[in-house]
């Protein structure tokens, strides 16, 4: 939404000038440009074909039987729970971080912004090792955590959440920062003239206005956390019930039983597609 031009605030009827302009902008009809459509279709095929491969190779006759195995449900439940909690953590820390990057001038901001994206470019396994070096039992912070609070993160479900949040947070931060930069800051000024403190401005004006960006970021973040493998297995290890999420189960199944791996992958895919699609519908209709 763009409120910077007065036309948008004007009445739809009498201001013929703006109405005409809008109508003209929408009225580009005619044939679809194949220069765009062909690569678009090719891109779609490229993305969807591997999924088709999974579906074709799936051992349909034994599918239900395999699904009913307790360890599958256990891994699925763990995956969903960890990805959701990790996303919540990312929201708690990532939205303020995005706000800081978008709204506060401070020396070295460009560097900080680059650092935020490090987990994106870092191979997840390396990220996992890095987490071990910091939060592990003998890590810089982990040592202190254990001696002071008796808390160790590796090999625990909390460790899975830490690894997933580490890898997924940049998706949220980048998305929310973009939304914040796109938002018209004059609304925040208007709120200030009405007596809103900066926190109130953020909570009651900024956040609602960038909510679509926050939701999009959270969805990306959740999806990334759900599929997280490298950092999780390296930092949190792999033990059924506590740290073996679906991707880890898929990987191990691949070692001995590729068919089981396909089943697990399909379950993960189906669940995530259902959740994301329903979320999206809700948001599109709400907006």
């Amino acid at each position: 939404m763009d409120f910077s031009t007065p036309e948008h605030a004007g009445p739809p009827g009498p201001s013929a000038g703006s109405g005409g302009r809008r109508a003209a902008g929408r009225g580009v009809a005619g044939r679809l440009p194949w220069m765009l459509v062909l690569p678009a279709v090719a891109g779609l095929v490229f993305l969807v074909l591997p999924l088709a491969g999974l579906l074709i190779r799936a051992p349909w006759p034994t599918l239900l039987e395999r699904l009913a195995e307790p360890h599958v449900l256990e891994a699925l439940r763990l995956s969903l729970a960890c990805a959701t909690v990790a996303t919540a953590c990312c929201l708690l820390l990532g939205v303020p971080l995005a706000w800081l990057l978008a709204r506060v001038e401070f020396p070295g901001r460009r560097l900080v912004r680059a650092l935020v994206t490090v987990p994106l470019v870092l191979p997840p396994v390396v990220g996992g090792v890095a987490l071990l070096l910091v939060l592990g039992r003998r890590g810089l912070v982990g040592q202190w955590l254990e001696s002071s609070f008796g808390v160790t993160l590796p090999f625990t479900t909390a460790g899975v959440i830490v690894a997933e949040a580490f890898v997924a947070m940049p998706f949220l931060v980048i998305s929310v920062e973009g939304a914040l930069r796109g938002a018209d800051q004059r609304f925040e000024e208007a709120a200030a003239t009405l007596g809103a403190s900066r926190w109130t401005v953020f909570r009651r004006v900024t956040l609602p206005m960038v909510m679509p960006g926050v939701v999009a970021g959270a969805v990306l973040c959740w999806a990334r956390a759900l599929g997280e493998f490298g950092a999780t297995i390296t930092f949190a290890g792999n033990f059924p019930g506590t740290t073996r999420t679906m991707p880890l189960a898929v990987y191990l199944a691949l070692e001995t039983e590729p068919e089981a791996a396909i089943v697990l992958s399909l379950v993960l895919l189906a669940v995530s597609v259902i959740i994301l699609a329903s979320l999206r519908d809700r948001w599109v209709s709400a907006a």
Binding site: L226, F229, M246, L248, E255, T256
Partner: protein
């Protein structure tokens, strides 16, 4: 064993290969031939493509150089990885000349598909208890791993070192509750090196390769769980004779020397 590469150089390529799995929200089917595989270049006359278990990275790299020196103009390309993954890649048509697996089971995947005949066991590997250098939990025998206070890492049962660990523990009649079941032996070893666990069951070769970062403890039950490494030329080997010549080198006295120095046992 200073000839071996530093541990990161070994752990990272393996790790990076695994990392590929994490990007897509689910495991890829094994049907995808490894894009990083050098064999994609095709089997030129002077090129041998060897798929070998990750635990052979150091020794085979050295043997590859020896082979290249003995056959001027020839290049040996390696694809190191989990034996199971490599076997899947071969079954799915990856153009390999030689397959050296860390277990007879993974070799069987390939022989069952009639892609290789008459594999030969060229080395055996034995488990050791690996503990951090300062051995904080004071582990000195297999029974110590059953103590609840001792954090233990094992390989997952699905990978050869995990299967061997289960066999050894069963033979000793011990029940160990590990904190983690790692996806491969290098990852297991890393947990010991970083001190995240107090002990792990890994191969003797891995302890030696860690160049003093961990301490290896022999235990008698290891003899019950010895791992055979089979090697075979592949039926459709693009390199033809060169493939057989590479296997010959591995089986030769020179090959044995390199392998035993790294901690492998002769079959």
């Amino acid at each position: 064993m200073s000839r071996r590469l530093p541990r990161w150089a070994i752990a990272l390529p393996v790790a990076l290969a695994l990392a590929g799995l994490s990007g897509c929200g689910s495991g890829e089917p094994a049907a995808t031939p490894d894009a990083g595989s050098s064999s994609a270049a095709g089997g030129g006359a002077g090129e041998v493509t060897v798929f070998a278990a990750a635990s052979l990275t150091g020794t085979f790299t050295e043997l590859g150089k020896t082979f290249e020196a003995a056959h001027p103009g020839t290049t040996v390309r390696f694809n190191f990885g989990s034996s199971a993954t490599l076997a899947q890649q071969i079954v799915q048509g990856a153009p390999a000349d030689v397959f050296a697996a860390a277990s007879p089971a993974t070799m069987k995947t390939v022989t069952d598909a009639s892609l290789a005949a008459s594999p030969v066991t060229f080395v055996r590997n034995k488990l050791q208890i690996a503990v951090p250098k300062d051995n904080p939990a004071e582990v000195d025998e297999l029974k110590d791993l059953t103590d609840a206070k001792v954090k233990v890492a094992l390989c997952a049962e699905q990978v050869p070192c995990g299967a061997a660990a289960v066999k050894a523990l069963d033979a000793a009649g011990l029940k160990v509750t590990p904190v983690t079941l790692e996806q491969d032996v290098k990852a297991t070893l890393t947990k010991v090196e970083l001190g995240e666990v107090d002990a792990a069951l890994v191969y003797r070769t891995d302890v030696i390769a860690s160049a003093g970062k961990v301490t290896g403890i022999e235990f008698p039950e290891a003899d019950q769980a010895i791992n055979d490494y089979p090697i075979a030329t592949l039926a459709k080997a693009p390199a033809g004779d060169l493939a057989g010549q590479f296997v010959d080198l591995v089986l030769s006295q020179q090959g044995k020397d390199v392998l035993t120095k790294a901690g492998f046992e002769a079959p």
